[in-house]
């Protein structure tokens, strides 16, 4: 089954609009447990936005708060200029697709999808038209009379999606929509989700703990940890310029060298815990508790000492074949540095475990990062 093309005429039946969404100064505590700490977010009209973070970071709590299932202690949620903080869930027009899909087992697919329209007192003919269109959009028009239990996981998810978009919500909230699907379906469904979002133009928030999902689907991402928004930005921004150590290590792999700054002015050096001494560029701003952070693919390996570079000799201690790259671990100065070398099909792996190699650390392009705000 290929990614099905979304029926453009069906999408046109749904009268969806792109609204902006603002979360202002939101705090939420369960007893002494401070779950959300002063969350502020501005989400643009029509944007595909992700809440990304490890489990327990508060991302789902924030999503449910937008839908009205959690009440903030302080702060408000504004959608399209209207403060919805004091509305009950059923008056919000904020469409939430549940992680478990939450399809009602006692209703057929069509009845599930029609539910929200019936609650809104939409006329019967109009309900039929829009239910048919919504099911057409997700490619399930032929399964309208089935029960949810007769559908596969992927189909159930599409029904849940159709059930939500059919009410023409002001924003679309997706709670870990890919977590109950197998790996292959995930790639397909995330493309479909992106496609659908583009057609409908709905402002959409996607909750996930998987950086790859967020990177591939979303326009912008808010990285969260322990109830705090760590950084907001496009996937590339977050990867290239992480604001702190948490973002740097959560999004992709990063080498983190701990140590301290010695010397002043042009003689400044960064002395790692393992005893490596690295020069610090003249203009670089290095905070007091900073670590040196760089990605595995910007470091280089060489048999001979590269001229003029900041390089150190070490031994290969680990080798992982990842497909497009081979990831090496090199013991240098009591610490392991990870370096990715592009894998060239047809060529043998360049280094064996135990080989002596030189690691070229790109000090100039490396980042100096604090540990992050928890």
């Amino acid at each position: 089954m290929n990614a099905h093309a979304i029926d453009a005429s069906a999408a046109a039946v749904l009268n969806t609009a792109a609204l902006d969404l603002h979360i202002e100064g939101v705090n939420l505590s369960y007893g002494s447990n401070h779950v959300l700490k002063n969350v502020n977010l501005d989400i643009k009209p029509g944007e595909f936005f992700a809440f990304l973070g490890p489990s327990g970071c508060g991302k789902t709590t924030l999503l449910r708060l937008i839908a009205g299932f959690n009440t903030p202690d302080t702060g408000r949620v504004v959608v399209g200029g209207r403060d919805i903080s004091n509305l009950p869930p059923w008056k919000r027009d904020v469409g939430l697709v549940f992680q478990s899909y939450a399809l009602w087992p006692h209703m057929t697919v069509a009845r599930n999808v029609a539910f929200g329209l019936e609650e809104r007192g939409v006329k019967r003919g109009e309900i039929q038209r829009r239910v048919a269109a919504a099911l057409e959009i997700v490619g399930l028009g032929h399964l309208a009379e089935r029960r949810p239990s007769q559908l596969s996981g992927g189909q159930q998810q599409r029904v849940a999606l159709a059930r939500t978009v059919v009410i023409e919500p002001k924003v679309l909230l997706l709670d870990e929509p890919l977590s109950n699907l197998d790996a292959k379906m995930r790639v397909q469904v995330r493309r479909e989700l992106r496609d659908l979002q583009q057609r409908l133009g709905l402002t959409t928030i996607f909750v996930t703990h998987d950086q790859e999902e967020a990177n591939t689907v979303c326009d912008r991402i808010a990285v969260m940890n322990e109830g705090v928004v760590q950084q907001v930005g496009t996937p590339v921004e977050l990867y290239e310029r992480p604001a702190n150590l948490f973002v740097a290590t959560f999004l992709g792999t990063a080498n983190v060298l701990e140590g301290k700054v010695t010397g002043t002015g042009a003689a400044r050096q960064f002395e790692t815990l393992g005893g490596l001494r690295l020069p610090i560029a003249a203009g670089a701003e290095v905070p007091a508790d900073a670590r040196l952070v760089f990605r595995p693919q910007v470091a280089r390996l060489a048999r001979e000492k590269p001229a003029g570079a900041c390089a150190f000799e070490g031994a290969i201690s680990r080798r992982e074949f990842l497909g497009s790259v081979i990831r090496f671990g090199i013991e240098v100065g009591g610490q392991e540095i990870t370096v990715d070398e592009v894998f060239q099909p047809g060529l043998r792996a360049p280094y064996e475990i135990g080989d002596r190699v030189w690691v070229d650390i790109p000090v100039a392009s490396a980042l100096w990062l604090g540990p992050g705000t928890a």
Binding site: A67, G68, F69, P88, P89, W90, K91, R92, D93, V94, G95, L96, F98, Q99, S100, A102, L103, W104, P105, H106, M107, F115, G116, E119, R120, R147, S149, R163, T164, I167
Partner: protein, 572 residues
């Protein structure tokens, strides 16, 4: 190489199990045939047999449908069962709803008190209910004095409905509460997210999802009430089906075909009600709870809602606990007649019961112990054969034993009389009059419940535990003895206690089979006492003892199951 193949022995015909397993299966088959299938079969056979000639006939059924008394009895039974379901739902719905949907202080107490009516045989409560709610009972005396009217709670069929509803509503409460708790909160949240709330959401989402649980409880209540013999008899209501069957057999004799026809009607209605419930439940496994999530969101109540809720709950609990209170009062009362409360209090009834009636208690302990023992042995054996062997037809054992659910006590009693009365011991006494036959009847009646307990216990034991024993050199039978049975102990004990407790207060079959006072169990004694006004005091004292006995057993069984779950929980 090819030699090796040709020398390989031809596939030998093998027994489908070890000789021990086959012997066990044959023994169980014989037991179920002799004490369940043949007696019930003979009842059905007689109902379709012409008296005298012995040929097949429907004339008995034609007679049944032509006789006004029987038709009236049939509709009365139907009406009482249906109304009981309605009234019981009225008690159960608010309790289930309030305790599962709101943050309600005392929810646990309510759920526990909700079970209390089950530990008293309904006919015991009936007498106490007469004193409290009868025409000249406490409530009506007070109503009449202050407001000048009475409410006919206990008149005729009303009395049966009222007593049965109070006794059986826990079945609905238990099933409905479980169904409500099994609804994942995302079901409700999805509806709210799509714009639904309040009563509308309850009607469209919560109620349909809880429906299968409700139907299961309701059909059980229907069947129980339809089959019950003792409560109508004690309330002097004779024009219902089960009492009619009993009266025909006891007054006209076991050769009268009408008793058998009624028995068949009882079976048909039981099977029909269970079929309806199975139909309602089929394909509706609505347990929607997700891992981690659980149950509906509980809401805090507003003050006025709390007042209403506590009022409703208090009223219902007062009603359903009334029989116990009444019974307790009666057991200590000197004279209690035409007054809201007894004239004075005494311990005389208890001393009388312990003095001259201790034989009832002794008999009950013996009978219920043996019946419970038979149940767990047979239950464990069947469960083992079904789950752990590949014997052909092993499921039939399970089905046959479970079929006892659909056989009313009266029917089993009639069947035993029919089948075993003509079998005489060497000294001429009919087999049917021996007390051991009554014990077996009790065991058969309780077998389905014990079987399910043993079945569940065995199902929870991983096969690999047994394979490990066999791998280390234990034979099948030694594995069963050293690994399987010890691990099943909790489940087996729970099954035993349940069987014991319910067998101790069973009356329907007992009433048919007890021949002499000396052989009678407690339930029979109670029934005899309650027949006369003078016997009500001692009867009530005996009733209190019965209630305490059953309550103690129930507590023990809960304790065992609980402890067992804790100790084996980690191993699973």
């Amino acid at each position: 190489m090819s030699l090796a193949f040709t020398q390989a022995p031809a596939r030998r015909w093998r027994l489908p199990g070890t000789p021990g397993q086959i012997a066990l299966a044959l023994g169980l088959t014989a037991f179920l045939l002799a004490f369940l299938l043949v007696p019930v079969g003979s009842v059905i056979y007689v109902a379709f047999t012409e008296k005298g000639s012995g040929g097949f006939t429907l004339i008995n059924f034609v007679d049944f449908f032509r006789t006004d008394l029987f038709m009236r009895s049939f509709w009365n039974s139907f009406y009482v069962s249906a109304m009981t379901v309605g009234l019981a739902s009225l008690f159960a719905l608010p309790l289930a709803y309030i305790t599962t949907r709101f943050e309600f202080r005392g929810a646990l107490i309510i759920q526990t008190l909700g079970f209390v009516p089950l530990i008293m045989p309904p006919f015991v409560g009936a007498v106490a209910m007469q004193l409290l709610f009868g025409r000249n009972g406490s409530v009506n005396l007070l109503l009449n004095e202050y407001f000048g009217f009475r409410i006919p709670f206990m008149e005729g069929l009303n009395g049966v409905i009222f007593v049965q509803a109070i006794h059986y509503f826990p079945f609905i409460l238990i099933n409905l509460s479980a169904a409500l708790r099994n609804i994942d909160r995302s079901m409700e949240e999805a509806a709210q997210n799509l714009g639904s709330s309040g009563i509308r959401m309850f009607r469209r989402i919560v109620l349909p999802l809880a429906m299968p649980g409700y139907v299961a409880g309701a059909s059980l209540v229907f069947v129980k009430v339809f089959d019950d013999l003792a409560t109508p008899l004690l309330l002097n209501v004779k024009d219902m089906l089960a009492p009619q069957a009993y009266l025909r057999v006891t007054s006209i004799g076991i050769t009268d075909p009408m008793g058998y026809v009624i028995a068949v009607v009882l079976i048909v209605v039981s099977v029909f009600a269970m079929w309806v419930s199975a139909l309602a439940l089929r394909g509706r496994d609505y347990a929607t709870t997700q891992r981690g999530g659980g149950g509906l969101a509980k809401r805090r109540m507003r003050p006025w809602e709390q007042v209403v809720a506590y009022g409703v709950v208090g009223l219902i609990l007062a009603l359903v606990l009334a029989p116990h209170l009444g019974l307790l009062l009666l057991s200590f009362a000197t004279i209690w007649s035409f007054s809201p409360l007894p004239d004075g209090f005494t311990l005389a009834h208890y001393s009388r019961v312990f003095g001259e009636s201790s034989v009832y208690i002794k008999n009950t302990l013996i009978y219920a112990s043996i019946a419970g023992g038979i149940d767990v042995v047979v239950g464990t054996a069947i469960a083992y054969l079904v789950l752990r062997t590949k014997l052909i037809g092993r499921h039939w054992l399970d089905w046959a034993a479970t079929a006892a659910l659909a056989v009313p006590g009266v029917v089993l009693g009639i069947g035993y009389l029919r089948t075993f009365y003509d079998i005489r011991l060497p000294d001429g006494t009919p087999l049917a009059t021996l007390w051991i036959v009554l014990v077996i009847a009790l065991a058969i009646r309780r077998l389905p419940y014990a079987l399910r307990a043993c079945y569940a216990a065995l199902q929870q034991i991983s096969v690999s535990l047994e394979e490990a024993a066999e791998n280390l050199g234990a034979t099948k039978s030694r594995t069963v003895r050293r690994v399987v049975v010890p691990l099943m102990t909790g489940g087996i004990l729970a099954g035993f206690v349940t069987s014991f407790a319910t067998a101790a207060v069973e009356l329907s079959a007992t009433l048919m089979l007890v021949q002499s006072n000396a052989d009678a169990p407690l339930a029979y004694g109670l029934y005899v006492f309650m027949q006369s006004a003078a016997g009500r005091g001692p009867g009530a004292a005996l009733g209190v003892i019965a209630v305490l006995l059953v309550a103690a057993c129930t507590l023990i069984s809960h304790y065992i199951i609980d402890r067992n779950q804790k100790t084996t929980g980690a191993a699973r």
